[in-house]
């Protein structure tokens, strides 16, 4: 296709009319017609609260930190999804253990107020039976128990109580005081 073998003609530029004529008006009247979106498009994700256990696997996998676990003042843990920062890579769907996140083809996300872009899932926290502190989520506890039943008897202890119980257990067994 080098320049030498392109036929140069003075009125060659009129051929643009031929091209335009042949292609016709290709505009998709989008808001009133179907857009050019294929079935494989990755759009906004949708978190199903019946399956989400608040484990945070998606939070670790999300490159732009669009998914964050925030714990409000009274100990409630909630998963916040900020669509504004999401890059629609669907890594969270790959890593979610319970398949709670579903990908949609939604892309009409324009808004004039940024608070529309936040989806929040508020989780029930676990209450530690010894010291009453609220930690992680109840759903997480049930999920862990279903996965490995033997942890059942100390799943409702918050991490510090659990550690001190564990240390005491070792101490009793070896008879030495570990303070």
């Amino acid at each position: 296709m080098s320049l030498k073998n392109i036929r140069r003609s003075r009125l060659g530029f009129l051929r643009a009319l031929v091209i335009a004529g042949r292609s016709g008006r290709v505009t998709r009247r989008y808001p009133y017609e179907e857009p050019l979106v294929t079935s494989d498009f990755r759009g906004k994700i949708d978190i199903d609260e019946t399956k989400c256990i608040g484990c945070g696997a998606c939070v670790n996998a999300c490159p732009p930190n669009a998914l964050e676990l925030i714990n409000t003042r009274d100990g409630y843990v909630s998963l916040r999804y900020f669509v504004g920062r999401c890059i629609f890579c669907w890594r969270c769907i790959d890593v979610c253990p319970t398949g709670a996140i579903k990908g949609t083809r939604e892309f009409e996300l324009a808004t004039n107020d940024i608070s529309d872009l936040y989806d929040i899932i508020v989780h029930e926290p676990n209450k530690c039976r010894e010291c009453g502190k609220l930690f992680s989520t109840k759903r997480m506890g049930d999920y862990v128990v279903t996965k490995s039943p033997l942890v059942e008897n100390y799943v409702d202890l918050d991490p510090d109580c659990r550690k001190s119980r564990f240390l005491r257990a070792i101490e009793n067994r070896f008879g030495g005081g570990i303070e």
Binding site: R15, I19, S23, N60, P63, W90, D94
Partner: protein
Amino acid sequence: MDIISKYIDAIKAIEPRADIHVSDDTVYTTVSSSKLRDLAKAIYWDMDCFFRTCVGADERSINGFYALYHIFGDDRNGLNIVLKVYADPNNPTIPSIVDIVPAADWCEMEARDLLGIEFSGRKQYRLVLPPYWPKDLYPLRKEVPYNVKPQVIISSEKVGSWGKAPTGVAVPVGPYHPALHEPEYFELYVEGERVVDVRYRGFHVHRGIEKLGESKLTYQQVNFVAERICGICGFEHSVCYAQAIEKAAGIEIPERAKFIRSIVLEVERIHSHLLWVGVAAHLLGYDTGFMHTWRIREHVMVIAEMLTGSRKTYGINLIGGVRKDINEEKKRRALDVLKIIEKEFAELVKTMVNVPQIMKRLKGTGILPREDARKLSVVGPTARGSGLDRDIRRDLPYAAYGYADFNVPVYDEGDNLSRFLVRVDEVYESISIIRQLLDQLPQGPIMIEEFDIPEGRMAVSVVEAPRGEDIHFVITGRGKPYRWKVRAPTYQNIPALRVMLRDQPLADAPITIASIDPCFSCTDRVFIIDKHGHRKSLDQIMYRWR
């Protein structure tokens, strides 16, 4: 291979005690800083290699030193030569090689800006960070957190003023100029309508991705940052990064994944070249050409979305393979679309070449002679337009390019028209590559899950982006890369702009700047072109950090 031994003898001749070890296509040597300059001269000029880039690294936690890797490339034999120099931690200075290798100017200044390595024997200036960034805060040092925010007062400083303008009227092109679509700032000094001198200040797009890569993100997440280095050739960076890690860790990815990567790379090259042809027509006032080229390009975006799930940032590439497969139905639709593109694009180029104004303004403007191109080691279509026959897909074949045969278009006039024709020819080459690869698509898995990435390995991986060769240098760490350096193609082409823009009419400045298809978000580099212009610190900017 005798070539490698040739290099080893050359290095041994200058530095007898150098410990050299060779991985599959890279020769690593550690040299003392005193011998660096003559070694660089030997490799760059006597062995006729090209300069790829230099990487500064803060290795105080590994061996207590700062390190600088000079990377040379021997395209014909597909070899990378890495010279490593140490600099002591409290006063890191390394002799500069910019007078021997002019292309090393920028990366040395970047190492100075981000790591604080001083270079003796040259004029030093701030390159990457804004002028009001505190003097002694070097972001890439390990102890500096990635989200440090120095307290600076951004007064409305005079854009790009460096003291007296050399001559004539200063025409500010940018930072928001319609021709550039990106915030880069060229100051053209004009006499009448003839450009006398050019000053360039960029770095509006410096987002500190290298610091993020080694602090906040994990191995797999860095893929998505790499993909967003450039919005047009993002997949090249992501493949280049993944290949660098795979080469460092010795991971062998399945054949089918290699094929899918090459196919999507070529889809991206077609879309990038069609985009450029449209923008070039727009810059020359021929909007009909712009509209029709982008109408044809829309088909490419649709099949890209069908193959990968997103129009542009494909996001299917991970270390170890790809995330999305190509089935028979998608293969058939892709081949149909390629047929349409081939036919319509050929007709459109025939029309555009016959528009009188386009030919007059493309032929003979923005000349880059062959020896200047060689001296500045320009890459990609800019090099192929000036007679340098360089193409990484043929010289260092990666992914599945070994299976496809294609020829590399080279023109030697070196003007805007030859760069235009190189890109037009490359669209057809890409279409034929995709057809060949789609036919030979092997069966099998598309990703391997279990692999481990050992610490402390080094790797250089090179990929042919639409704009030139794109280099990623990686040192592996625990869970995330220890050091990750990106040298984008336009980084190497911008110095050539001064040669092209000198003594050209102002009206051709936008088309000449666009002829190297600059992708500033890849590059985000800056440099001062003219001889005596030294960047004075803009005094009206107050620092509160100190």
